[in-house]
Symmetry: C2
Subunit: 425 residues, 2 copies
């Protein structure tokens, strides 16, 4: 019995990659596991659309063809979305199938229920492909940082926004122009909302937080800011200050509390994340013992993501051979409170406009002094309609100070704060 049969739900980009890899890398998988993988049945919505693979797999629109097939032991879920994916995986686990999924939305929001269900049924539930596509970051955190205390995990975990920001920086384009090109080249979807508003990155940071700190953080527990309001002049000014503007997800341990945020940030050109361009992703893990390590690779794409799915499948197969299925992918669990805004300290890049007349700059410096914050670099440029544009890099300040600054500037009435981006040295 050296053949293991699989089912799959969905046959889009990643699903096609999984099908191709199972066929093309069968020998390597056999060499490593001693088993031959056969993808037996694939559930799709539209049979007619997938006739090109009808000769190599059994296509069906009926989930029951997989649920009730005792030969199928492992099922790959690549249909995406939260519903009905959750209900489908629930049925699969109840039917004692091991499940491998690339579904970050589902794992980030409903993962806890499914993980419990998998354990209760003695099944594996693996989801390496849900974060950072081809980069094997979840298994690495779970296995290789098991004895270290991770203090921060941060990264560029969305390829679409990184492609857009790279083009804005390198070509001098506006956000709208860069988005349009990204859509034409297939790096952005026709409805890019989840990517450009940061939600996709937020889901990934939730999963990374679970693995790094053992703590479930909810979407409403932290701020998520996308890149759809990023101005070309701030991208330019970042470069002039010696930084690159990136959409960065941060999850950090602060005084035994947890802080998570997804937002544009200025990354020093000397920082390893600064060189991560276009659709690539990278995750930097800071361990108390190990220091800074960086994991870099393709963040999306059919084959890179399929490789993460296949690494999950081979792990499930090894567990089947060793009869050790049913252990959670991530075993680290502890309840941590959220860090307070007063605890979270960073440097910030601020862009403001103010009337180009005597006394206005003094108002700004007075407010900064009132909240006990100070400047590190400052540049003033002539703007339009008698306004000056001022770009600042601050010294370290707390999020509480930042919020107070925003309130006091609003109260002044004449100064507009366009953005406040974290600075990463």
């Amino acid at each position: 019995m050296d053949v293991i049969k699989l089912g799959m739900i969905g046959l889009g980009t990643v699903g096609s990659g999984v099908l191709a890899m199972i066929q093309e890398h069968a020998d390597k998988i056999y060499a490593v596991t001693g088993r031959r993988l056969v993808l037996k049945t694939v559930m799709v919505r539209n049979l007619a659309k997938h006739q090109d693979v009808a000769e190599v797999v059994h296509l069906t629109t009926d989930l029951d063809d997989i649920l009730s097939d005792p030969e199928i032991q492992i099922v790959v879920e690549v249909m995406g979305g939260i519903h009905p994916a959750k209900e489908v995986i629930t049925q699969l686990l109840q039917a004692h199938k091991h499940v491998v999924t690339a579904n970050k939305d589902l794992i980030a929001t409903e993962g806890a229920d499914l993980i419990r269900l998998a354990r209760a049924n003695g099944c594996d539930l693996m989801y390496e492909a849900s974060v950072a596509g081809g980069i094997p970051i979840l298994r690495t955190i779970a296995d290789s940082f098991a004895a270290d205390q991770i203090t921060e995990v941060k990264g560029i975990v969305n390829g679409t926004t990184n492609y857009i920001l790279t083009q804005m920086a390198q070509q001098g384009w506006t956000y709208a122009a860069a988005l349009k090109q990204a859509q034409q080249l297939g790096f952005a979807e026709s409805d890019p909302t989840n990517d450009v508003q940061g939600k996709d990155a937020a889901y990934k940071m939730m999963i990374l937080s679970q693995f790094s700190f053992g703590t479930q953080v909810n979407l409403e527990d932290f701020e998520t800011t996308g890149i759809d309001a990023v101005a070309a002049q701030d991208v330019r000014q970042a470069t002039a200050f010696g930084y690159v503007l990136k959409l960065v997800g941060v999850a950090r341990l602060v005084d035994q509390g947890i802080f998570v945020e997804v937002a544009p940030a200025l990354v020093s050109v000397h920082h390893p994340l600064a060189g991560v361009n276009n659709e690539n992703n990278a995750v930097m893990v800071r361990g108390q013992a190990v220091g800074d390590t960086l994991f870099y690779g393709p963040g999306a794409g059919a084959l890179p993501t399929a490789n993460s799915v296949l690494s999950d499948i081979t792990t499930v197969v090894k567990n089947m051979i060793l009869k050790t299925n049913g252990n959670s992918f991530n075993r680290y669990s502890q309840a941590l409170p959220l860090a307070t805004p007063a605890q979270v300290k960073d440097r910030y890049y601020l862009a403001l406009t103010l009337p180009d007349q005597p006394g206005e700059m003094q108002k700004l410096t007075t407010v900064m002094a009132q909240i006990n914050a100070s400047f590190s670099q400052i540049v003033q440029q002539a703007g339009e309609n008698g306004q000056a544009r001022v770009m600042i890099i601050t010294h370290t300040m707390s999020k509480e100070q930042l919020h107070e600054l925003q309130q006091r500037l609003t109260a002044l009435g004449t100064i507009t704060l366009h953005c406040a981006y974290r600075v990463i040295e």
Copy 2:
């Protein structure tokens, strides 16, 4: 029975780091494994030297105190060197102790025997710390690339030489000056031979080859060139050409043959390896499906290396709980032939001196034409004693062509080839 007792052989830099981590990270390890680790007995050569830890561990000079102690289930070997480390580990495995080692020399050269012995005794033998210190590269290749076909693994895997080359590039120092400073700062040993002649990197590439291609390559099967002959002017010229000179280990699949080499190489400033500076390490893995991924972090140091040892220990502990000990760390095994010099193709940087007189340059271009190779970039500088120094970047050529070039230039008598370094774009 939630306590697991360990022994350790050696208490140098890494051993002290392991002792500290077991104590300081006990809670995290307990949270992940449900077990408390206790380092019970440490074998040292000189009891008097280690009295500072005599209160927390039992110190001994007698291996039998560990071998015959049924409470000790896992032993960490950090004594280093091939003999008597091999004999010690052999006795430990025969006594049914699981072994975790950081000993690259031993694993690279005698690993096969020990791996067989571990399996035969149902014991784990793990050695993540043997390659690239704190970077969890071996477990990542074994687990996360199990379904992909790796086609190349290359990297900066020796911190001492990378520190020296970084200082030569950034400070303009000679090799001798940079080595002296590295020794003063503790980045190079008083006898740096194994590091600067590339042997340490060669051992690591042998282990990376085993994991990436399933094939054992011996030290005498490939060329190892260190950095002790690197000239400051070639470091400078590399920069002028848009490259950084690094000691790079390469293991590559070429037409189903395997090619391994350790040698200085010119790395394009746009390549992710170019930004890996000082004592840091990085390994780039190219998978057929996943494309290029990079793993970056500290290559040495007490705590980073100790973290890799601890990640092995927690894996052994998990295996003990699941009763799955005795499976090889790396399960990929196949016999591949060595690639021939005609199959291995790269671009090269060449530095030559020749008499600064009419006709000499023509001799050089004639030889290049004879071997069917060509230049991409060329710079000539006035040298000493009527000699000109010529620095070239070639188009792609095979190692066979390179060897022929060397022979023909030697035959000419007037042209001296100082170095031929691989170019990595």
